[in-house]
Subunit: 345 residues, 2 copies
C-alpha cells in the first residue's frame, strides 16, 4: 500500500514523523511518500494545495496529515482567502471527497484524572462524533464580504445528509447502537431538512438502532454535564467543528484526539489539534493524536484492525507510563514516541 504524508505547519512535522516511525514498525510493507500542504506549501510553491500534492493523494491508499496554519499574526493570514493555509486543508478534504469525519473521544481507564471534568463524569466516556465535512457554511459558493456587510450560506441537500447519516448508523451498529443527531430545527430550515433526512435513513435501514434528535445548544451543555449519555453524535460541519473540539477536551488534551475522514475513495487521517506554533520545533508536542490517527489509518484505510488495536494499546500504556507536557507530564515528543515503539514491538 501507498501512503502519502502531509506534515504541514507548526508541530505537524514533528508529530507526523512520530506517527511515521510507528507505522513503519507495525506495517513495514507500506511505502510512504511525503508532500506539501498549508503554509509549508505556500512557502515552497505559492499555493496551499499544490498540484503535485493533489496528484499524489489521488493515487494513494490513505493520507496521513499533520496540521495546517500559522500563528494569528502570520503573513499567510493576510493572503486572499483561497491562498491561505486553511484553504489548502479544505481543498484537500474536498479533492479526496471525504464527507464523513470520525472523531472518537474516549477516556482511557486509569486516565480519568487528566480530564477537566470530575472523574465520576469522565469515567467511561466513549463517544464517536461523526461530522459532515464537505457541506454547510464551509464550502458554499454563496459567500460575500464587502466593507459594510457579509454573508455565508449554510446549505445542505438531502443526499449530502443521507450519506453521512449512513456512516453514523454503520458506526453505531458496531458500538452501542445509539445515534444522537444534532440540529437547530427550532430555528433553521436547513436543520429541518437535516432532521428529516436522518429520520428517513433510520426508518429505511436502521430501525434496530436508537435515534434521537437534540438541539445543538443542548448537546454543548450535556457533553459537559453528562457526557456518558452519548454514543454516536451526528452533526453538520460547523456544529461538528465546535462540538468535536469541545468533546475533545474531556479526555484531558486535544493532543490525544485523532480523526478519520472517509468518503468514497481513500481516507484522510489527521490529529484534531491545531498547529500550535507557540511550541513548534521544541520537541515537546504530544504525538499521541498523530499516532492514534495512524492507528485509524490502519483500521479504516488499510483494513488492518489488529495492527490498529496494537498501536492503540501501546499509546495507552505509554500514556500511563509518562505523558507529555500538555497532560502535565514531562515526556518529550521523542521519549513518548520511543515508549510507544517499545510497546508495539
Amino acid at each position: 500500500p501507498r501512503i502519502v504524508t502531509l506534515p504541514g505547519d507548526g508541530i505537524g512535522p514533528e508529530v507526523t514523523a512520530a506517527a511515521v516511525q510507528v507505522l513503519r514498525e507495525v506495517a513495514p510493507d507500506v511505502t510512504i511518500e511525503e508532500h506539501l500542504i498549508g503554509g509549508a506549501a505556500i512557502e515552497e510553491t505559492g499555493e496551499p494545495f499544490p498540484t503535485a500534492t493533489r496528484e499524489a493523494v489521488r493515487g494513494a491508499d490513505a493520507v496521513l496529515l499533520g496540521t495546517v496554519g500559522g500563528p494569528q499574526d502570520s503573513p499567510w493570514n493576510r493572503l486572499p482567502r483561497p491562498q491561505r493555509p486553511e484553504s489548502g486543508l479544505l481543498a484537500l478534504r474536498r479533492a479526496m471527497g471525504c464527507y464523513a469525519n470520525l472523531r472518537p473521544v474516549r477516556v482511557l481507564p486509569g486516565l480519568e484524572h487528566l480530564s477537566p471534568l470530575k472523574p465520576e463524569l469522565a469515567r467511561g466516556v466513549d463517544i464517536l462524533i461523526v461530522r459532515e465535512l464537505l457541506g454547510g457554511l464551509y464550502f458554499d459558493g454563496d459567500r460575500r464580504l464587502d466593507g459594510d456587510s457579509a454573508h455565508n450560506t449554510m446549505r445542505y441537500t438531502r443526499a449530502e445528509v443521507e450519506r453521512v447519516a449512513r456512516v453514523a448508523f454503520w458506526a453505531a451498529g458496531q458500538r452501542r447502537g445509539r445515534v444522537t443527531s444534532v440540529d437547530k430545527a427550532n430555528v433553521l430550515e436547513v436543520s429541518e431538512l437535516w432532521r428529516s433526512a436522518v429520520q428517513d435513513v433510520h426508518g429505511r435501514k436502521y430501525r434496530d438502532l436508537t435515534l434521537n434528535h437534540e438541539y445543538v445548544d443542548s448537546v454543548a451543555m450535556l457533553l459537559v454535564s453528562n457526557p456518558g449519555r452519548y454514543d454516536v453524535v451526528l452533526t453538520e460541519n460547523l456544529f461538528g467543528d465546535i462540538l468535536s473540539d469541545l468533546a475533545a477536551v474531556i479526555p484531558g488534551s486535544l493532543g490525544l484526539m485523532p480523526s478519520a475522514s472517509l468518503g468514497d475513495g481513500a481516507g484522510l487521517f489527521e490529529p484534531i489539534h491545531g498547529s500550535a506554533p507557540d511550541i513548534a520545533g521544541q520537541g515537546v508536542a504530544n504525538p499521541a493524536a498523530a499516532i492514534l490517527s495512524a492507528a485509524m489509518l490502519l483500521r479504516h484505510g488499510l483494513n488492518r484492525p489488529a495492527a490498529a488495536n496494537h498501536v492503540e494499546g501501546a499509546v495507552a500504556r505509554a500514556l500511563r507510563a509518562g505523558p507529555t507536557a500538555d497532560l502535565g507530564g514531562r515526556a518529550s515528543t521523542g521519549a513518548f514516541t520511543d515508549a510507544v515503539l517499545d510497546n508495539v514491538q
Copy 2:
C-alpha cells in the same frame, strides 16, 4: 414603573411567579401586568406573539419572560414555523429591538462543588457572554426548505456588529477590562467582517481595554479546560447560543443562569434554561435563574443596582442553605423562593 411578565410554557409560569414575588418585595412600587407568549399564547389566541402582547411590551419599562416551547413531540412543533412557540420568542426579541444579550456565568464562592468541572477549574469563574441577538442565521430572510435541499444565510452588517461590540466594551470597562471576540474567520467571510468591525470599535474608543480574537472551536474547548481565562466573551447569535449554554453548565445548573437583552428601548429579562416540560407543574423547578433575571431587570431595566445586589445576595445565601433538585438538593420551588424572600427582608 410598569413591568410586563410573559410566563410562557413549561416551568415558565412557576419560576416567573417566584420572581414576581421577589420583585414585589424589593420594588413594591412597580406595577406588573401579565401577558401571553409562546405555546400558551397559541392555545388562547392561535398566535405565539399576539397583538395584545406586542402592544403591552411596547409601553413597558421592562419585560420579564419565563420560558417558551413544548416537548419535542408537541403538536405546536408541527405548525408552520412562524406559528411555533419559538417564533413568538424571536418575534418578541425583534419587536423590542434587543440586540445585545448579556449572559453572566459566575461560580459563587462555596458553590464550586456544584460544577461538573474540577473545583480548581471552576473556582472564581466570572464570565459575561455578550451574544448578538437579532442577526445572523436567526432572522435572515434568505431561508428556504424544499424536499431536497435547504439553506439559511448567516449575514451581518458592520453597523449590527458595531452596536453589540460597544455593549461588550462598555461591560468590560466595568469588569476586568478584557474582551474576547469569537469568530470563525479562518473559514467565514462574515467572520472577517465581524472581526474587522470589532477591531474598529476597539480602536476608536476602547484602546485602554484588551481585545483578542479567538476561533469558536477553540473557545468551546477553552471554556471547559480553562474558563478562568475569560472575562467578556463577544459573539454572534448562533455561536452565542451554543457557547452560552455550554458556559452555563460551569456553575452547576442551567437553573442558575439569568440573562438580560438590551437594545435602544426597554430590556427583556429571561432565564436561559428551557421550558423543561418533563418537570413542569411539579413545583420542583429551580426559580433561581428567573429570580436572578429579575435582579438584572432591577439593575439594567430600572437602574436600581442596590436592589439588584440585594436580590443576588439573597439567592446566593438561599443556595448555600439548600438548593433545588437540579443541584442535587431537595428544596421545592416554593421553599427555595421562601428562603430568598427571607433573605431579602
